[in-house]
Each structure stands twice: as structure tokens, then as C-alpha cells.
């Protein structure tokens, strides 16, 4: 059966969007199917994201806009899957596109219909906390910005039809059924949050001041119901005492909730508590939790900051019920402290940290696509490849396969894309379309002939300011050849008009005064390009979003402001020039530094796709950290997996492996690197070129100096214990094994969680119990962090009699060696001081970065490390495997401690990201970038230090001596360099000093 070079992505949250973008950028046609009416999913609802407190909307909206506009992405909203047939490489899917009752082709998103709609319906986006109209868009920055009528509320009054000047309202618009043919499918439907059922003991639904965390998120949001102020729903007062209850609907064996851990609640609760306090300092948050599961990169630091800087109080207790104080609507919480006393406290507001459920339509999707679900109704995935569903050719990413946070979702999305790449590589580029455009008209040096198009936007602009007056004003500005106004400048017929006008009047600059360039600039740029003008010969004046809409009652002043804005745009337009985007060839070969699991998985993926790959390993053999691991907690056979990988690597002709290898030099930049490697016992030197780099250098196990390790042979590391269990029967004559968690983790030297030690301990405890049921196993822990489905094994261990005892960081166990036994002394809160006798002490040593190696490599690649010497990605949330330096990616333990499955995901994700570069013969660089006037540059180097992208270096020029040089491939055009340059030697194309000067001045 012939493979198809197209992919369907189901679900357009952040995961689906990422997967779609990665694939579309790599040359596949993508059908992005969304069941609601806009994309962005849950992330678009969030206020801030942990652990950086980044504004969610700020970081996600550019990505969504890109998704909505990508030439290779066919986005359909309000869809339902009807039927799926076929197999890996060739599926046919029947999709029902449900009617919006508004013609998306005609709708300009102006929003007049929504404002005029008389029926106040519920706004899903604000979680029922604000009212909205039946004709609505999901939220103000929605992509696509197309309104939809909710027929459940619509009374059919016809007002919207009357006010819509674009004639987009079509009450009788029918549903449409389409058939889509693709080679692979990615399922990213996300999750649904747990909603406490009626009659729940938290009083949710009954007490007004008990809200779920996602509702609270909207309360926090600046675009939420109270515009960012934290107020309680009952009376709009500021709640000074707010309680957050963890594990609502998670880790619940009562049958009311779910037994697994929802993985993200500990962190998002900490974040909500911090933001609440930040928004309003009088708020004092209290968090009730069992374990604090801050297992991700830099998560523990966040928890510490929450406690120390934001007065967040943590109480280790699980709350099962709440009562309301009827007079005050305050909420009474009764809890037991760790020493057993019972306390009763009143709170002004309670936030339930609700868990993540599988999506409500999981069963439906599973059935349609023929994939299996696991015991919790999440998608069942491969034990080593967490994006591979039970059906070949169908992948899952994000919370559909297990609860996870944004970076993990994004990583998995890219990983799924990476797997699709592997499956469909030979069909890459077969289904994408490329527009043929007329040659560009040469306008440099010609006097500006400016055309100004001023938009009424129905009544959105024309109703609040004097458009004809502004048009008249514009026509009298210098160099303006023509000024015209249009009902909708963005409509299809106006595009034709603009093109005709350009030809008729020989315009060489075009100004549109309408809405925001953030959404509409690309459209108009495309139009003028079709008319033969370079797309940068365009300028926009925002007289709607930043003028008519915000001065609705000030006709004269709004008109005057619009004139000024138009004049400023014309002044700039007079100074704009065509910009040619530079194209650079790409060396379609790859370098992977590190031959552990991540490196090998990435290498194989690349090689499968036909890319020549250089794999560099410092040790004599491949395998890395995982060589010491026998099985995963879930039962995966790691040793078998590795040897299988190594065999495949060795037999693949496209992979060149260098062992005992060190990098001497890496030169170059994205698409064009050149590396020299010294390798083998004879220290041979090899030089090669490549287009991308993946850093997969791994990490190492902490070598403890504490707990008598190295001094007493009864004290061993978890890895050594695993070897003992798997290769001998020594466990059979042990009576008692004690494990200590967090050795070399979560302390001052290594202030982070090593993530895998809890699982390792439980895995080994279970195996020990299995081999010798009589052995007593005691685990001394600080928090047990068996997140996600690993929670099951924690429960199993406890059921099998493994004893878990909590200790505090400042009171670690004390080890006394007495002859053949070890005595472990420990202070506990509930039992006082206890002593455990043991014949084997197992230390769960943490994972630490290879500091020297990392520092050296980081310097060569010009990429940063974090405080703990792990590699620091470009963006913690949305670019988890990228570096700010383009063409360089990271995977595996080099990034931070993680499980084998996560490493594999990251490796595939890095491949997918790399493929967006490798799939092209040449890369086109951003047009609006910096350029240096060498005659002015003095080479002081300030710009170099200010550049976040390492795009600038000092060179010795033949004529000008030592001067700065901007690598146009790496430059992103932010202008931090130009803002500081004293000599004004740097300018940013599209935002040149001259252009901005023209906007500031020239008010005549």
C-alpha cells in the first residue's frame, strides 16, 4: 500500500499544535482537527506557568497564530471524527465539520455580532464565571478568530445577521462531511479535569467559595472574570486565607476519584498560591498535601521559593471534607497534624487541586481509531516509547497517554512528530503546495509612491471615528499617491482591489490602516507580494484595536488619533525598503554527542530517515547510564532494549560511531557546522560537516560520602543493589534491607529532585520482596514521588509490606555500624526516635551533571547551563529540546534527571525539531534582522554580550579592522544590540533608526 505524505493531528491544544508545526515545517501536509471552536487548549486558559511564572498567553499565542496561518496546516474546528480505516502509512478518516452558522471564509472576527447578541449565554472559557453571548468566540485572542453561534442558546432573533456587514452569518449553514487521506495519525485530545461529583464532601457546587483549580486559574488571569484581581465568588471580597487541597480526585482508592497521581497538581497549586499572593499581598495561602511531588527540572527550587518568598504554608495532611460557616460563607477545615493533634481552621476560600482525567471522549476515540486504552482509560503506549499507541501508525502525545505538564506534552508532541518522520520520510514533501509568485518589482531608489487603504471594519472603526476625514488627511500626506477606504480591507475582494490599485498607480509602498498587524500583516503582505511588491514594502496603522475600540465615545479625539497613527505609518512607509531574505544551504548530516539511550534512539531515527549521522561516545562502548539498569518499574527489559539498539546502530551504514571520542572544535552555525573529533585508543582525528547537533551527553550517579558509603560494605547504592538482585540470590539470606532516599538530591549542593530514585527504590523493593518474601524492606523517604501511573507500584509495595517512613531534611537518619549489623537511628514525628537494624543499607543516590564536560561543550556550542550544570533549554515550557542557539538540541539526562521513557521521547523530539531544518535544502532566514555598518563600528563588543542568540562576534575586517559581525542566520532581530550601540553602527531592518525617527518626528 502506498504511503501518504500527510498526517492528521487530532486535538489542537499546545501538544497538537506543536506536532502539527513540527511536521508541517518538515514537509508534511497536516490536517489539524479540533473539536471546539478554537485552538490552544488548556494552556490558553492559564494565567502563568510554573516554574518560571511565564505569562501563558504571551508565550503560546505566537505559536497559535503560526499554527493558524501555516501553509501546510489545514486547520478545521468544530469537528467530529466519524470513521477511520486503513493502516500505518495510509489511513482514511471521515470527519464531520459541524456548522458554525457563520461562514468562516467571510467572518473577519470583528465581533460586532457577539456584542449585539441579546442572549447572555455561558462562557466556557472563563469556566462559568463570566457571561458571554450566544454568538461568540472562545476568548479574545482566539485562533482562528472566527465567531460561532451556539445553537443551544440562540433564539434566532436575526440581530447578528443584521449587524454583520461582512454577510457572514448563515443560519442555515450545513454540517459538512469530508474524507481525509493521511499516512499517520497523532492523537492529542488532551484531558478533562476531574469535577467533584454532586454530593462530594468538599462542598463543591454547594459552597460558593469552593472552586476548582482551573476556575481559580481564570480568577487569577488578567483576562479572567475579575481582571486579575483575586476575589471570592460569594461576595467579591479579597480572600485573605486561601486553602488549597491537593489530590482531589487523584491517588484515591475509594472509587470516587482516580487511583493514579495526576502529576501536575503539586506544581500548579504552588504556582496558583504564589501568583495569588503576588497579585494581592494580603493573601496567605495554605497548601494541604500528602507528598510534594516536585520532580521536574527546577521544580523543587520553586517550592522553596513559594515557602520562603511568598509565605506559602505547607501542611502534610489530606483533607477529606469541608463545612461552610453559613454566616460568613467561610470554610472550615479540620485536619490532623503530623504529631497527631487535631486542628480546626477557617478559610475564606478553598481551591480544590483537581486531578486530570482522560478526555471524556477517550473511549470514543479509542474505538474509532482502534487503539487500546489502559486500565485508567488513558491511551496505552509502548513500554519504552511513550508516544507509540497499540496501533502502528497512530501516535499519542500529551495528557492523552498520562497526566503531564506542558513541557512534557510539547516534548511528546515533537516526539510523535519524530516517529511520524521515521514512518513517512520517503513521502516527505509530496503533498505540500508552493505558491508561484510573480517576480518582484525593483523599487530601490525610486521615490516612494504610497497607497493608503483605510478600513471601516464594518462599523468597528467607521462607527467610532471619521474614516472619510482620515482618508482625506492621508491623501494630503507627502508621497501618498492614493488614499482610499474600504468596508473590510481584509476581505477577499479588497485584496483584488489592492492588487489592481498597485498596478494602476504604480504604488511601491502600501499602508493599511485597520486592525492589528499581529494578526493581519501577513495577509496584506501576501497580497502585495502577489502584486509583485516585496512583502516588506508594507506598513500598518492599528486604528481599530488601539484606537476606535478603546475610544468609543470620543469621536473627535479618536479621529485625530487615527490621523496621527496613519501619518506615522506613512512616514515610516516612506523609509521602508525591500528586504531580501538570505537563503543558506543545509548540510543534511547530523552530529549526536553522547551514545547513551537518547543518543542511540536519535541516531537510529535519523538514519532511518536517510540522514548520515555521526555518533560520538566518550566511553569505549555505547549504552551510557542505562547500562546499569536492568528493568524499568513498569517491567521493561532495559538490557535487552540496549543491546538491540546497539546492534541496530552497528549494522546501520549511515551511522558512524566514534568511541573514546572527544570533540576538539565545533565551528559554524545552523545548517553548516564543522566538527573535529579525536577518537579511539590511537587518538585519530576526523573532521566532518553536519547541519544540526544533538547534545545527549547524559549525567552520572552521585557518589555519596555520607552514610558510611565506601567505608562499610553493607552500604551500597541502589544501582549496586539492582545488580545484586538481578545477578545473584544474595537477597535470600538478608533479613532487613533499609533504603534511604534523596541521597545527594534536594540538598544545598544539589537542590533538585533526581526524579527516578523513588521509582528505582520501589522497583527494587518489589523485586526483593518477590525473591525473598521474608525480607523486611524499609524505605526512608522525604516525599514519595511516584507520579502518574507509578503510583500503582507505590501502593503495591505498601500492600506487599514494604515499610515507608518519612524523615525531614534537617534530621537525616544516623547510621551506626555494630559488627555484622547496621543500626539506623531516625527521628519520626509520630513514633519519636526509632532504631532499625539492618544487614543492608541501600542509598538512592541522585543524578548529577557532568560538570566539566558540560561546561566545555556548552562553551563550544555557545549554549547555557543552569545552576546545577545541566543544559538549559531555550524555553522551559515551549521549547524543551531546543537551545536558543539554533540547530542545537538537547535530549536525555544532559537536560535534567528523567526516566528512560522520557529520554526516548526527548530524543525523538529532538529529531523532529532537527528535521524541520534537515528537511530543507536551504533555510531562509528572518528578514527583519540586524545589520552592521562596519565603518561606524568600533568593535567594543557590547552587542555581543547583549545578544541572547550568540549571533554576533568580532571579526577582523580587511578595511575596518576589528568590528562586530552579525550572523544573519542566528539573528532574530530583537534589536537589543542596536538599542545599546553608541555609534548607531547597528540597525534592525524593518525597524531602522531612520524609520523610527520618521515616526517620532515629521508632524507636519
Amino acid at each position: 500500500m502506498e504511503k501518504i505524505g500527510a498526517v492528521m493531528v487530532v486535538g489542537a491544544g499546545i501538544g497538537g499544535s506543536q506536532a502539527a508545526l513540527d511536521l508541517a515545517d518538515s514537509g508534511y501536509k497536516v490536517y489539524l482537527i479540533e473539536s471546539t471552536t478554537s485552538i490552544g487548549g488548556v494552556m490558553a486558559q492559564l494565567d502563568k506557568t510554573f516554574p518560571t511564572n511565564d505569562c501563558a498567553m504571551c508565550i503560546v499565542s505566537p505559536k497559535l497564530v503560526e499554527t493558524g496561518r501555516h501553509q501546510n496546516i489545514d486547520l478545521s474546528i468544530n469537528c467530529e471524527i466519524q470513521d477511520v480505516i486503513g493502516e500505518a502509512g495510509n489511513f482514511t478518516i471521515k470527519v464531520l465539520k459541524k456548522s458554525l452558522y457563520i461562514n468562516p471564509e467571510k467572518c473577519t472576527g470583528c465581533g460586532v455580532c457577539g456584542r449585539e447578541c441579546p442572549v447572555e449565554a455561558i462562557d466556557v472559557f472563563n469556566e462559568g464565571l463570566a457571561n458571554y453571548a450566544a454568538t461568540s468566540v472562545k476568548y479574545p485572542q482566539a485562533v482562528p478568530l472566527v465567531f460561532a453561534i451556539d445553537k443551544n442558546y440562540c433564539i434566532g432573533c436575526g440581530i447578528c445577521q443584521g449587524v454583520c456587514k461582512a454577510k457572514a452569518i448563515e443560519y442555515d449553514r450545513k454540517d459538512e462531511e469530508v474524507e481525509i487521506n493521511v499516512g499517520a495519525i497523532i492523537l492529542a485530545p488532551g484531558f478533562d479535569e476531574y469535577i467533584p461529583p454532586e454530593g462530594n464532601l468538599y462542598g463543591y457546587g454547594k459552597y460558593k467559595n469552593v472552586v476548582t483549580s482551573i476556575e481559580f486559574e481564570r480568577i487569577l488571569s488578567a483576562s479572567g472574570p475579575y481582571a486579575g484581581r483575586v476575589l471570592r465568588p460569594s461576595d467579591g471580597d479579597v480572600p485573605e486565607k486561601v486553602a488549597f487541597l491537593q489530590c482531589v480526585g487523584s491517588r484515591d482508592y475509594t472509587g470516587k476519584g482516580k487511583p493514579y497521581c495526576s502529576s501536575v497538581c503539586c506544581m500548579y497549586t504552588a504556582k496558583e498560591a504564589v501568583i495569588a499572593h503576588e497579585h494581592m499581598h494580603q493573601i496567605q495561602p495554605t497548601i494541604f498535601s500528602m507528598d510534594i511531588r516536585a520532580y521536574g527540572k527546577d521544580f523543587d527550587k520553586y517550592i522553596i521559593r513559594a515557602q520562603e518568598e511568598y509565605e506559602v504554608r505547607y501542611i502534610r495532611s489530606r483533607i477529606s471534607s469541608i463545612t461552610e460557616v453559613p454566616e460568613t460563607k467561610d470554610l472550615r477545615i479540620k485536619y490532623e497534624t503530623e504529631d497527631g493533634t487535631v486542628v480546626e481552621e477557617d478559610y475564606h476560600m478553598v481551591v480544590l487541586a483537581v486531578g486530570l482525567n482522560p478526555p471524556n471522549d477517550a473511549q470514543f476515540l479509542a474505538e474509532k481509531f482502534g487503539v487500546e486504552l489502559n486500565e485508567y482509560d488513558f491511551a496505552m503506549t509502548d513500554i519504552f516509547n511513550p508516544v507509540q499507541t497499540s496501533k502502528p501508525g497512530i501516535f499519542a502525545c500529551g495528557a492523552f497517554s498520562s497526566p503531564k505538564d506542558i513541557p512534557d506534552t510539547v516534548t511528546q508532541a515533537s516526539a510523535a512528530a519524530g516517529c511520524v518522520n521515521q514512518l513517512l520520510h520517503e513521502k516527505k514533501g509530496t503533498l505540500i503546495t508552493e505558491k508561484t509568485l510573480p517576480p518582484e518589482i525593483f523599487v530601490r531608489g525610486q521615490p516612494p509612491r504610497i497607497g493608503v487603504f483605510i478600513c471601516y471594519c464594518g462599523i468597528n472603526i467607521g462607527g467610532f471615528l471619521d474614516v472619510p476625514e482620515v482618508t482625506k488627511y492621508a491623501s494630503n500626506l507627502p508621497n501618498v499617491v492614493l488614499a482610499d477606504n474600504n468596508l473590510y480591507t481584509c476581505s477577499a475582494d479588497t485584496q483584488t482591489l489592492i492588487k489592481d490599485t498597485i498596478k494602476e498607480y504604480h504604488l511601491n509602498r502600501v499602508v493599511v490602516a485597520s486592525c492589528t498587524p499581529r494578526t493581519h500583516e501577513p495577509l496584506f503582505q501576501e497580497t502585495i507580494r502577489e502584486a509583485g511588491l516585496n512583502r516588506y514594502l508594507f506598513q500598518m496603522a492599528n486604528i481599530r484595536d488601539q484606537c476606535s475600540w478603546v475610544h468609543m465615545n470620543e469621536w473627535d479625539k479618536a479621529t485625530e488619533k487615527a490621523k496621527d497613527l496613519v501619518r506615522m505609518a506613512v512616514n515610516k512607509a516612506r523609509n521602508i525598503e525591500a528586504i531580501e531574505r538570505i537563503k543558506l544551504p543545509v548540510t543534511q548530516k547530523t552530529l549526536i554527542v553522547g551514545g547513551g539511550i537518547s543518543g542511540m534512539v536519535a541516531a537510529l531515527n535519523f538514519a532511518t530517515q536517510g540522514y548520515e549521522t555521526f555518533l560520538i561516545e566518550k566511553q569505549k562502548e555505547l549504552g551510557g547510564f542505562a547500562r546499569h539498569i536492568y528493568n524499568t518499574l513498569e517491567g521493561g527489559n532495559v538490557q535487552e532494549f540496549i543491546s538491540d539498539l546497539i546492534e541496530k546502530i552497528n549494522s546501520n551504514k549511515l551511522i558512524r560511531v566514534f568511541t573514546q571520542a572527544e570533540i576538539e572544535i565545533i565551528d559554524g552555525y545552523i545548517g553548516n557546522f564543522k566538527t573535529t573529533v579525536i577518537h579511539g585508543s590511537k587518538k585519530e582525528k576526523t573532521e566532518f560537516e553536519h547541519g544540526v547537533v544533538i547534545v545527549a551527553t547524559g549525567a552520572k550517579e552521585y557518589q555519596p560520602t555520607e552514610y558510611l558509603y565506601g567505608q562499610n560494605n553493607k552500604v551500597i547504592l541502589q544501582s549496586e543493589f539492582e545488580k545484586l538482585l538481578n545477578t545473584s540470590n544474595d537477597i535470600n539470606d538478608k533479613k532487613s534491607v533499609v533504603m534511604i532516599q534523596c541521597v545527594g538530591s534536594r540538598n544545598d549542593d544539589h537542590p533538585y529532585c533526581s526524579k527516578m530514585c523513588c521509582a528505582e527504590a520501589i522497583k527494587n523493593a518489589l523485586l526483593a520482596k518477590q525473591k525473598n518474601p521474608n525480607v523486611e524492606v524499609v524505605v526512608l523517604f522525604r516525599d514519595i514521588r511516584t507520579y502518574g501511573f507509578k503510583e500503582k507500584y507505590y501502593r503495591e509495595a505498601r500492600e506487599k509490606g514494604v515499610i515507608f517512613i518519612n524523615y525531614e531534611e534537617n534530621e537525616p537518619p544516623e547510621i551506626i555500624s555494630e559488627g555484622s549489623i547496621l543500626k539506623i537511628k531516625l527521628k519520626t514525628l509520630k513514633m519519636g526516635e526509632i532504631t532499625i537494624e539492618s544487614d543492608l543499607l541501600v542509598l538512592s543516590a541522585g543524578i548529577i551533571a557532568k560538570r566539566e564536560d558540560n561546561e566545555e561543550l556548552a562553551k563550544m556550542l555557545k549554549v547555557p547551563l543552569n545552576d546545577d550544570n545541566f543544559f538549559l533549554e531555550a524555553h522551559v515550557k515551549l521549547r524543551p529540546v531546543d537551545f536558543a542557539t539554533e540547530g542545537v538540541f538537547v535530549a536525555g539526562l544532559a537536560h535534567c534527571p528523567k526516566t528512560i521513557e522520557d529520554s526516548i521521547s526527548q530524543a525523538n523530539a529532538a529529531v523532529a525539531r532537527a528535521c524541520t531544518i534537515l528537511s530543507k535544502d536551504e533555510i531562509e532566514v528572518e528578514g527583519k534582522i540586524g545589520e552592521i555598518d562596519m565603518a561606524r563600528c568600533t568593535g567594543c563588543g557590547m552587542c555581543i554580550d547583549n545578544c541572547a542568540y550568540n549571533a554576533i562576534e568580532l571579526i577582523d575586517d580587511r578595511r575596518f579592522g576589528r568590528v562586530a559581525y552579525i550572523n544573519s542566520i542566528l539573528c532574530k532581530g530583537c534589536g537589543a544590540c542596536a538599542g545599546n550601540c553608541r555609534c548607531a553602527a547597528i540597525d534592525i531592518r524593518g525597524f531602522t533608526g531612520e524609520q523610527i525617527f520618521a515616526m517620532i518626528t515629521g508632524r507636519n
Partner: protein, 349 residues
């Protein structure tokens, strides 16, 4: 004639109706020529002004004309209307008075007659005053001048202590004196005192520069090593030329009004000491270093001026010597130049 010191106000009152009356005043610790509105401000007990009086007729920023636009094109050009106003430059020194001669030569040189300057010059009356105590840096006597040089003035004053001896030099000056009928007659003793003062002043000038051959030496030593030495510590600032009474270089810029449809063309002082002065659009700069720039300044004054106008382009006021931040003394430079020739002559002999 004799002008009593307390009659200066009277003189001012009589002439300020008809003339813009410029006189030395004390401003921020220095002497400057300003159009005065109160004769009390006049300060005649001074060495010389910081900025030479050339700034009255050739100001640092001077609007050449204004223009109006209709928003798109220039629709009207407005010429200067104030050129017919009459000026009195009161109390200027002989060296500075001489500089107007040089400036006039420059602005009238060749086919282009700079009407703005020339008209203003024509409408200006110079009332100078002799230097009773020249500075140690003065060297006007080396340039065919002296502290009581009157030729370049219309009226010449000598400070006799209690009063001023007034002498009409030009017809223009004599006409004015005739109008001032209240001036008393000078006695023989006054004239004699003036002569004594003149002699005393001349003796105070100790700097003697021999400029007889300098022009010739300069012509034949364009590539001499001496320029490197002379410019060695020069910083390339414009102090020497901005404060020079004979420097005339200017730049022309256009400005737009902030809120109206009009603009203006302005000329502003420039100096050959700035690297930008000769910088070509191509990036090439024929005078790329201080060596060439320092040389140009000397050549212009002591070689090109004599060649073009048969006059030395320096009046010996010594301002550049006092003001140079690195004390690059013109006197030293000239003597170094004169030295080259001697050495070469020796070689030739």
C-alpha cells in the same frame, strides 16, 4: 575728540536707535560681544573676547533662508529680511578688526559673492579700541599689525585712563563723529599720552614670529616629517578654529519646523580639524588623520591665504594658543616650520 568714560551711555543712547549696538559684556566669567540693551553692561576694561566678534557678522548658526511647504512640496522661499539693519561693533580690538578684512576677502572671493555676509559687513560700523596691555600670547606685530592698528576701523578709541581719545578713521566714522557734536576736543597732551601708550603696548609684545619665508617653506614641505611631530599630541577638537577670528568654514543643514509646514536652511560653523570635515560619502577621507588636519590649518592660514589674497590668514590674537587643550602652541609650530628651511639650506650649501 574726547569721550568721557561716563559718556559711553550717551553715545549708546544716541546710536542704538539706528544701529544694533554690539559691545563687549561679561558673561559667565568671559567677555563676549552681545547686542546690548543697557549701556551699563559694556565692559571695555578687558583683554579680548573669548569668541571673536566675527560671530556678529558670521554667527555660529545662521539662517540663510526659510521655506514653506504645502505638506508635499516647497511652495515659497523667504529670504532674509534683516540684512539692511545697521550694526555698530563697539570696542573691538585691532586684531579682530583686521579679521573682518580677511573674512570679507573670503566671502567675496571668486564668482560667488556671499550677500548675507557682505551686506551685513557693509552695514556695520567698527568702533575699535587700542590694546593698552596686550597679552603675552599676542603676536599681532608679527603680522603687520600692532596693538593700536586703526586702519581697519571706522572709529578708533584709545583708553587714556579717565576718558577715551576718539579718532575718526573712515568717512563713515567721521560722519558719526560729526553727529556726536557733544564730544570735546582732544588736547595735545591727550594725543601725546596716546602715543606713549601705543609705544608701551608695542613693547609689551615680546613674541616675534618671522613669517617672511614661511609661506614658501610651507609650499615646499607638504610631505615633511614635521607634520607628524606637530600633530603628535593634537586631539582633533575644534577649539582653535571655533575661537579663531579668521576661520570661515561652515556646514549647511536643513531643519523642519516641529508643527508647521515650514523649514529653514542654516549654516553652522565647521572646522577642518574634525575628521568628518573631509569625509566622503564613499567612506574615503583624504585627510584621514590629525597629521593632515593639523597641516591643513597651518597651510590654510600661512600658505593658501597669502597665495590667494596676498594676506596672512592670521591676525595674531593668540586665542588658539590660550585655548588649546594640549597646549599645541602656534608659535612653537611656526618656529619649527621656519627651522626646517634653515636646515635644508644648510644641506644645500
Amino acid at each position: 575728540m574726547i569721550l568721557l568714560k561716563d559718556q559711553v551711555a550717551k553715545l549708546y543712547n544716541e546710536l542704538s536707535e539706528e544701529y544694533n549696538f554690539f559691545a563687549p559684556v561679561k558673561e559667565k566669567g568671559f567677555i563676549a560681544y552681545r547686542k546690548i540693551s543697557n549701556p551699563e553692561e559694556i565692559e571695555l576694561n578687558y583683554f579680548n573676547s573669548k569668541i571673536p566678534p566675527k560671530e556678529i557678522l558670521f554667527p555660529q548658526n545662521e539662517v540663510l533662508f526659510e521655506f514653506k511647504t504645502d505638506g508635499k512640496n516647497v511652495v515659497e522661499i523667504e529670504d532674509r529680511k534683516d540684512l539692511d539693519e545697521k550694526n555698530i561693533l563697539f570696542g573691538i580690538r585691532p586684531c579682530d578688526a583686521h579679521s573682518f578684512d580677511l573674512l570679507e576677502k573670503f566671502f567675496a572671493f571668486g564668482d560667488f559673492q556671499d550677500e548675507i555676509f557682505l551686506k551685513k559687513r557693509e552695514n556695520s560700523l567698527l568702533i575699535g579700541i587700542g590694546c593698552n596691555s596686550p597679552k603675552s600670547t599676542c603676536f599681532c606685530t608679527s603680522i603687520e599689525g600692532h596693538p593700536f592698528q586703526k586702519d581697519d576701523m571706522d572709529i578708533f578709541l584709545v583708553d587714556l585712563g579717565d576718558n577715551y581719545l576718539v579718532e575718526g578713521i573712515s568717512d563713515k566714522g567721521n560722519n558719526i563723529i560729526q553727529r556726536l557734536s557733544w564730544l570735546s576736543k582732544a588736547s595735545k597732551a591727550d594725543v601725546k599720552k596716546a602715543q606713549e601708550l601705543e609705544k608701551k603696548a608695542q613693547d609689551l609684545i615680546t613674541t616675534k614670529l618671522d613669517l617672511t619665508n614661511t609661506s614658501d617653506i610651507l609650499e615646499s614641505n607638504f610631505g615633511n616629517e614635521i607634520w607628524k611631530e606637530v600633530s603628535e599630541n593634537c586631539l582633533g577638537c575644534g577649539s582653535c578654529s571655533f575661537l579663531c577670528p579668521t576661520c570661515t568654514c561652515f556646514d549647511v543643514i536643513d531643519e523642519n519646523a516641529q508643527y508647521e509646514n515650514r523649514g529653514r536652511r542654516i549654516r553652522i560653523w565647521d572646522t577642518c580639524q574634525f575628521c568628518l570635515y573631509t569625509l566622503h560619502t564613499s567612506g574615503h577621507n583624504p585627510r584621514n588623520s590629525n597629521i593632515e588636519r593639523c597641516r591643513n590649518r597651518i597651510l590654510h592660514k600661512f600658505s593658501y591665504y597669502p597665495l590667494n589674497y596676498d594676506l596672512i590668514g592670521c591676525v595674531g590674537c593668540g586665542r588658539c594658543i590660550q585655548v588649546c587643550p594640549v597646549n599645541n602652541d602656534l608659535r612653537t609650530i611656526i618656529s619649527k616650520i621656519n627651522n626646517i628651511k634653515t636646515n635644508e639650506e644648510n644641506v644645500n650649501v
